[in-house]
Symmetry: C3
Subunit: 469 residues, 3 copies
C-alpha cells in the first residue's frame, strides 16, 4: 500500500474528484519552476552526496525539528548546532530514531505529506515511518544517498526542475554559482539579491556590512549616492549570475519616500549606530522604495516577505542563532505601509513587486484589493506556515474574487529541504486543481478556462512574474 493516496487533496465528491484529477493530469508533469527558495548552491556546485538521512531531513529543516522541540525534545538532541560550538548529538541514527518515534506528531501537517511523498517517490519506501521502521528507513535512505543517481544534480534532473533560484546576501561572492556556471552542467540555478544585512540597521553587524559593501564595489557607501550606486553594482553582479529578482525580509511592510537630502542624513545616522527603532524602520522603508526604483531601471522583480517576528525566544536565539523555528508571525499592515512606495512607483506597468504575507487577514482585506488595482503589484503564493492544502485554499478563496488569478505569481516552494521541492509543487498543483474543479462544478468557471488557468498557475505565471522567459 503506497504511503500517499493517488487522489490526495482532490475533492471527495466523485464528479469534482474526476474533474480535479483530469485538470491535474494536464499539469502534473510540467517542469518545476522554483523562482524563490533557500537551497544551498554548493550542493549543485560540488555535487557531493548528501551525508545521511538526519542531515537530509531533520537537522537543517526547522519545519521538522521545531515540532519535535515543541513536544519536549531538546534541540541539542536533534543535532542542531550551537552558536558556541558546544557539543550536540552527533550520531545521525540516534537523531533519526528520535524523529521516527515521534512521526505521529506530524499527522495532519504538510510536513507529513511532503515527507511521505519524498519517502515514497524519491526513495521508494512503502511502509509508514515509526519507531519500528526507523532503522529500516535509515539504512535504506543512507544506502540510496551513496548512489550516483541520488547526488544533487541527478536529483535536480529527476525532479524535472527547469530553473531553481537560491537566495544570497548582498556581500556573497557567489562562488558556488560561479562554479556551477563554469562546470558546464546544464542545470539552471540562479541567485537572488537579498540585501537585508546591508539595508536593515538592526541587522547584526550592519555598519561593518555597509563598509564591506563599499569595499566590494569601490563606492563610498557613507554617502547616499555612493550607497545607492553600490547596490546598483551588486545587483549587476548578481544579474551576471542569472538573478532576475531581489528579495526583502523585513519585520514590516513599511515603506518611505524621503528626499535624497533626508535619506542621506538618515544613512549617516543609522551608520553611526545612534538611531531609534523608528529611524531603523524608516530607513528600511526608504530602501524598499529605492529598490523598487532600481527595479524600474534594471528590470529585476522585487519580492517583499514581511511580518515575521524572528528569533522569538531570546535563549534559543542566543544558543542556536537564526532560523530555528522560533519565528512567529504577527499582524501586518499593508494599506498604510505601502502607500509611500506605491505613490512613487505603483502605477508603473513595467515594474513587478511580489507581496507575501504571514497575516492571512490581509489577503482579502488589503492584498487582493491592492493587487487588483496597482499595475506594479502581484501576490505571491501562500508562504511558510500557509504553504499547505488549507493555506492554498484560503488564499484562493480570499483573493480570487477580488484580484483574479492573473494578479498572482504562481507557486514558490521557498524551501531549504531539497527533497521537498517536488512534493511541495505537487501539493500546490493538486490544491489549485481542487480549487479550480470546485469553481467549475459550481458554475463559476468554464472547464476550458480552468484548463488554461491550471497551466498558468503551475508554470506560466511564475515564469512571467520572475521574468524567466
Amino acid at each position: 500500500m503506497p504511503l500517499t493516496d493517488p487522489d490526495r487533496l482532490f475533492p471527495v465528491e466523485p464528479s469534482l474528484r474526476a474533474l480535479a484529477r483530469s485538470l491535474y493530469d494536464d499539469v502534473k508533469n510540467l517542469p518545476i519552476v522554483s523562482p524563490h527558495g533557500h537551497c544551498d548552491p554548493r550542493w549543485f556546485a560540488e555535487n557531493e552526496r548528501f551525508p545521511n538521512p538526519a542531515e537530509l531531513f531533520v537537522i537543517p529543516d526547522h519545519y521538522v525539528f521545531r515540532m519535535l522541540v515543541s513536544q519536549g525534545v531538546p534541540m541539542t538532541s536533534l543535532g542542531v548546532p550551537r552558536v558556541d560550538g558546544g557539543p550536540v548529538e552527533s550520531d545521525p541514527r540516534t537523531i533519526w530514531r528520535l524523529f521516527a518515534e515521534r512521526f505521529h506528531l506530524f499527522r495532519g501537517t504538510p510536513s507529513a505529506l511532503w515527507l511521505d511523498h519524498s519517502f515514497e517517490h524519491v526513495f521508494g519506501i512503502d511502509e509508514p515511518l515509526n519507531a519500528a521502521t526507523a532503522d529500516l528507513y535509515y539504512d535504506h535512505i543512507d544506502a540510496c544517498l551513496g548512489r550516483d543517481d541520488f547526488r544533487p544534480r541527478a536529483l535536480f534532473e529527476r525532479f524535472g526542475i527547469e530553473v531553481l533560484a537560491t537566495t544570497e546576501g548582498a556581500l556573497d561572492d557567489l562562488r558556488w554559482h560561479r562554479m556551477i556556471a563554469e562546470s558546464g552542467w546544464s542545470g539552471r540555478v540562479l541567485t537572488t539579491y537579498r540585501p537585508d544585512a546591508v539595508v536593515d540597521p538592526e541587522f547584526e553587524g550592519f555598519a561593518a556590512n555597509v563598509t564591506r559593501l563599499g569595499e566590494l564595489t569601490g563606492e563610498d557607501t557613507t554617502t547616499w549616492d555612493g550607497y545607492l550606486d553600490a547596490h546598483r553594482a551588486r545587483r549587476d553582479y548578481f544579474r551576471s549570475f542569472g538573478a532576475t529578482a531581489t528579495d526583502h525580509g523585513h519585520p514590516s511592510a513599511q515603506t518611505a519616500n524621503l528626499s535624497p537630502q533626508e535619506a542621506g542624513a538618515l544613512l549617516g545616522k543609522v551608520l553611526s549606530g545612534d538611531f531609534t527603532p523608528a529611524e531603523a524602520e524608516t530607513f528600511r522603508g526608504q530602501m524598499l522604495t529605492e529598490m523598487a526604483r532600481m527595479s524600474l531601471e534594471d528590470g529585476m522583480t522585487m519580492q517583499i516577505h514581511p511580518g515575521s517576528r524572528r528569533n522569538h525566544h531570546a535563549g534559543v536565539f542566543a544558543r542556536h542563532g537564526r532560523d530555528k523555528g522560533f519565528d512567529i508571525p504577527g499582524p501586518t499592515d499593508y494599506v498604510g505601509a505601502l502607500k509611500p512606495m506605491l505613490d512613487a512607483v505603483g502605477m508603473e506597468p513595467e515594474l513587478t513587486i511580489i507581496l507575501f504575507t504571514l497575516d492571512e487577514t490581509a489577503y482579502g482585506r488589503e492584498l487582493a484589493p491592492l493587487a487588483g488595482a496597482y499595475p506594479a503589484l502581484r501576490l505571491g503564493p501562500p508562504w511558510w506556515f500557509f504553504d499547505s492544502y488549507e493555506g492554498i485554499k484560503r488564499f484562493r478563496e480570499a483573493t480570487t474574487e477580488t484580484c483574479g488569478f492573473y494578479n498572482t505569481a504562481g507557486f514558490n516552494d521557498d524551501t531549504r529541504a531539497f527533497c521537498s521541492i517536488p512534493a511541495r509543487h505537487d501539493v500546490a498543483r493538486r490544491s489549485d486543481c481542487a480549487y479550480l474543479a470546485t469553481l467549475v462544478g459550481t458554475g463559476r468557471l468554464r472547464e476550458d478556462a480552468a484548463r488554461e488557468v491550471a497551466a498558468d498557475l503551475t508554470y506560466g505565471l511564475a515564469k512571467q512574474a520572475y521574468r524567466l522567459g
Copy 2:
C-alpha cells in the same frame, strides 16, 4: 450553451444540490428589494436610453476598470474622465474591445458572474465574451439599448424591482426624485440621506458645505443647535422623497458622546479649518451618535459603512478623482469604537443601526457578538469586495452561530451598475440557499425552517430593517 450554469453556486453533492435548488425555486422570483445603492436617479427621471455598451458596463464601474488597470491598461484608455477635463479615449467601441480582449482577467470573480448573467439574461447572448466576439457583443448590446424595452424604467420593471433606494448628499436638491415623483410612473425609487460632506471635517469643502447647509435650511449652522436642526430639516426633506434611511461612509467606526458644550466648541474648531486629525475623527464620531439620536426621533434606519482607506494612490486621485477603484480596506475596530454610541442608544429597541464592514475579521469577533446582544444593531450583508459567493459564505459561517439570521438585514446590492442588480440579488439568493441547504444536510436546521429563513433573507428582513413595509 448558456453562459451561466442553471445550478451555479449550489453545492455539488447531489442531495444538497437538490435541496438548494428547491429552496432557491421558492425565492428566485420574489421581488427585488434594493434598500441601498448608487444608481443615478436621473436614469429613471428622464428615462433616456443608455448611451452605449462601454458607458453601461465599463466606464462607470470601478469593479470592472480597476481590474484592467491592474494589468497595465491606462485609465485614460478606458475613457475614465480626467479631473482637468483633458482628453481620454472617447470611442466606446475601442474601450469595449480593450475590455473584451481581457475578459479572462475576471475569471473566478463575481464581476464575471454578474456580467455573464447580464449578457445572457438581459441581452440574450450565449457566446463567451473575448476578442473574437467583442464586436458582435458591442453591436448587439448597442442595438438593444436603442429599443424602448431597454430604457431604464422598462428594465426596472423587467428586473422585478419593488423598491430601489439611491444615495444623495445632504445638499442635493433631489430634483430627479422630484421628477420621478411628478412623472406618475409607478416605480418606487427612494433617496437616502448621506451627509458625509457636511459631517466630515476632512471632506473637500467641508466648511463651505456647512454654510450651504445653513442656507438651504435657514439655520445658523455655526451653532451646535442650529447645525443639528439643519440636519433635522434635511432629513425631513429627504423623507418627503421617501427616504427611510441614512448612510455614513466614515474612515472608521469611531463614535463619541460629548456634552453639547464640548460638541459646540468642536464644531467651531472644525469649521475654522484649524483642527487635528483626531479632532476630525471625534467630530465624525459625535455626529454618528447625533444621527442615531435623530433616528430615534424620526424613525430613519441608520447605516454605517466604515473602514475604506479611500483614494489610496495620490496620483490617481489627483488625475481622476474619487471612486476609481483605489479604495483599500484596512483593519476596523468596532468593539471600542462603537461603545460611546451604544452606551447612549444601543439598548433602544425602536432604533435600527445597520453595521457594514470591509474587515472580515470583525464578523465573528466583534460584529456578531455586538448584534447578538444590542437591540439597536443589525448586520448588513457582505459589502463591496465581499459581495460574492465566498464572501457571503464566510459571512454566514462567521456570524450565524453567534447572532443568528434575525439580527441580519437581508441583501444590499450597493451598486452603480444597473444591469448587475438582478445578477447580484441572484448570487445572494443562490449563496444563501446553498448555505441553508448545507445546514439542513448536516442536521443544523429543519427543512421547514430553512424555507422560512430563505424567504426572510431574500425579502422580509430587508423590508423590516429599512422600514419599507
Copy 3:
C-alpha cells in the same frame, strides 16, 4: 421524528459520512472529561432538584437570554436579577413562554443544537419548541425535574462524566467542594484556582481582596514575597480539593518579567489605588509570569483566557452586573504579549500553559506557530462564541497544519448550563470526527491514525493536559 438528526454535523458526501460515523461510533461513549467550566458545585453538594425550566435553561445562561435581548426583550422580563434587587419577572412559565415564542431566533446557532439535544436526550421530547408547544414543554420538564433521577448527581452519572472541574475565586472557602468530598458520593468534582480578583488591580474591590487574601493565609500581602506566598498557600488549599489547574481571565495576554524589586514597588502602587491603566496591565502581566513559575513548582496546569472586553454596555453592567451577554471580543496580541513569560519559562517541558482566544485571526498567525515551537504551550479548544461546529472546523483547519493535534488540549465545555455538557461534548466529538474523516478522504491522514487521533481528542489529550491521569 427526533429533534436531532442522528448524522448531524457529519459531511454529506456518502463515503465521508460513513467514515465520520464510524470514527464517531468509536468515541461517542467515552467518558466525559470536563476540565474547565462554571457549574455550581453547590448543585452536587446539596443535590437539590433544579427549580424549574426557566431557571434551568434561560435565566442563568447568557448564551440564551442575550439573543432574546438582542431582539428587544427586556432583561427584566426574562427574570435576570437586578443589582439593586429591584423587581424582575418572577413567573418562570411567563419567562419560558417568551423564550419558546422566540426559539426561531436561535436557528443555525449552537445554542439551538445544544437545547434540542437536551430536550430530546435528557427530557425525551420529540416536538420542536415554539409558542404552541411552550406549555407542554414547561410541564413536562418541570415534572421531570421533580424526579430523583433528574437531580444533579443522578444527571452527572447519567451523562457519563468522569471528572468535572468548576472554577472558584482565590478567596472562596470551597465549602461546597468540602461537602461533596465529605458526602461519600463517588462523583469527581474538582475546583480550579481563578485568582483574577486578587491579581487584577482593576477588579472591583482589588485592594480589599488582597487584604482578605492575607488574612486567609496569614501572609503579609503588602510585601511582594508575602503576596506570592499567599498565592502559594491558596494554590495548596485548592489542590487539597483536587485542583490540577489555574485559570486567568485577563483583558489581554500581556505578560511581564520584572525584577522582584520592581514587582514589589508595583504591588505597592496598585494596592494604593493610585495607578495608571498601563501599570494595572503590567501588574496583571507580571502575575501571569509568577503563576507560570508557581506552576513549575507545584505542577498545576495554567489556563489563559484573554481578550474579552467585558461589560460592554455601561447601563447593563450597572443594572445587572457581570456575565450578562455583553462581553465582546477584540483583537488580541499573543506574539508580543507572551514574549516576557515565554523567555522566562516557555522552554520548560514540565510546564503546561493552555492558551485560549476569542480572536480567531490568531489561530494560524500566532497561536499555532507558538504552540508548534514552545514545549510549555498547548492550545485550548475553541472558546465561547467559537465552541460550535464552524468554530471547531476553523480551529482545526487553521492550527493543525502548523502545530498538529498533539499541541492541542482536547475539549472544554466551559459552561454554566449543566444540561448542555453532554450536548457540547457531542458536538465537539462529531465535529472532530467530521474533520478527521475529511483528512482521511483527501489522503491527508491514514484511517488507523485517524482512529487514534479521535480518541486522543475526545479523551486522552484533556486528561494529559490537565494532569487528570
